[in-house]
Symmetry: C2
Subunit: 230 residues, 2 copies
């Protein structure tokens, strides 16, 4: 018999939906587990990809979870500015067995005071912002420091969740989940990190971010102060 587990993902407006849906697919196969997507109300929450996902529970419904997982995306500043959402992250994060994130979700954990002194991963483009919250940025697909398990950008959530699955249910279980999801990746190009993509594609990406979210990092610095950092 496996231990029953509760998994709570924070779902928020303008989440990068694959940050959530990738690891949710993997963790939905932990066995003997309940998976919730949690937000203020049960109304649909818009994602970055043009469609909406329904929360399964509200903050009030989920005061505790064995696994807290916070995804990232353009919506993270809105979460960090939101007292109700941050109070929930802090409450659940304080008691959870595993405190986890994918992509820029680690910046939410950081702002909630949950990564102070911890090594953590993040999307490459905002990884250095972890230092705002006294976290130590690490360039890796999955970073484990005590009970904090944090993933790199977006698709790293799948690698992260398989690692977490193995830590909780053992390697044989994780390998079976990997087989079921046919996770034998073969990207048609080798362009998944700044070093591999090369300076031209990185520069184009940075220009695009500058045009879409010009104040993203400055806003986050201001929010860090609001949350008692910096």
């Amino acid at each position: 018999m496996t231990k029953p587990l509760s998994i709570a993902f924070l779902l928020f407006p303008n989440v990068t939906q694959l940050d959530l849906t990738g690891p949710a697919q993997v963790l939905s196969r932990l066995g003997n587990a309940r998976l919730d997507l949690v937000w203020k109300t049960l109304d649909p929450v818009s994602t970055d990809a043009g469609f909406s996902i329904l929360p399964t529970a509200t903050f009030a419904d989920v005061p505790y979870a064995d696994i807290l997982c916070v995804p990232g995306g353009f919506g993270i500043n809105g979460v960090i500015a939101d007292d109700e959402a941050m109070a929930w992250v802090q409450t659940v994060g304080a008691e959870a067995t595993w405190v986890t994130s994918v992509c820029t979700g680690s910046l939410i954990l950081g702002a909630a005071g949950l990564l102070d002194g911890y090594r953590a991963g993040c999307h490459w483009a905002q990884r250095d912002m972890l230092t705002l919250f006294n976290a130590i940025p690490v360039d890796a697909r999955t970073v484990v420091d005590r009970n904090r398990v944090t993933g790199g950008g977006v698709t790293a959530g799948i690698d992260f969740a398989l690692t977490l699955t193995a830590m909780i249910r053992g390697e044989a279980h994780a390998r079976a989940v990997q087989l079921g999801l046919e996770y034998d990746p073969a990207p048609p190009f080798d362009s998944g990190s700044p070093a591999k993509a090369g300076p031209e594609i990185v520069a184009a990406y940075q220009r695009r971010m500058q045009s879409i979210v010009p104040t993203r990092d400055d806003d986050l610095r201001a929010l860090a102060k609001l949350r008692g950092y910096g």
Copy 2:
């Protein structure tokens, strides 16, 4: 200027949500494109992972799309049994520039008569079922045959969608999307295909499928007859 594109994903009850959400994340970054998730009504559609996704449009709203993409999952037999859903797949598939699928979504395309004589991919566990529909099963992450572009199981949808992105918008665009999604996969184990997982894990997986969906393949054979095959 890039050409404006319409992308229509079939969303259906008990879809393997990552079959849809993986490629939707990639294709949402095609640029100058509208992405719809299409089903009978706009009511929430349940997925295999314990949460629901909202359609953005109904069948009546989307009589044409440049890209049709059909995901897979345990719900495929329900779709193949459904005249309204199959009529929509046939109508849109007949005119689409690209007729595509991920995982067992290719069996829906097959039942709709859209893979007759085509090479196609599928989840490894049901790949051979493609022959029911006169399609030629291929063991690959992405299979391109004329304008049919079909992916392997679940996570192959990300590789598939990057390949399709390059075909439509060019390799530089696809590489930039790959960088943005930090798609530099590093699975913690090497167990993503039957050959790599080995006979014990494969046997355990098959036993589990037998207990969850014991009549899946027999039901599909009966449905193939209903659709004029076999």
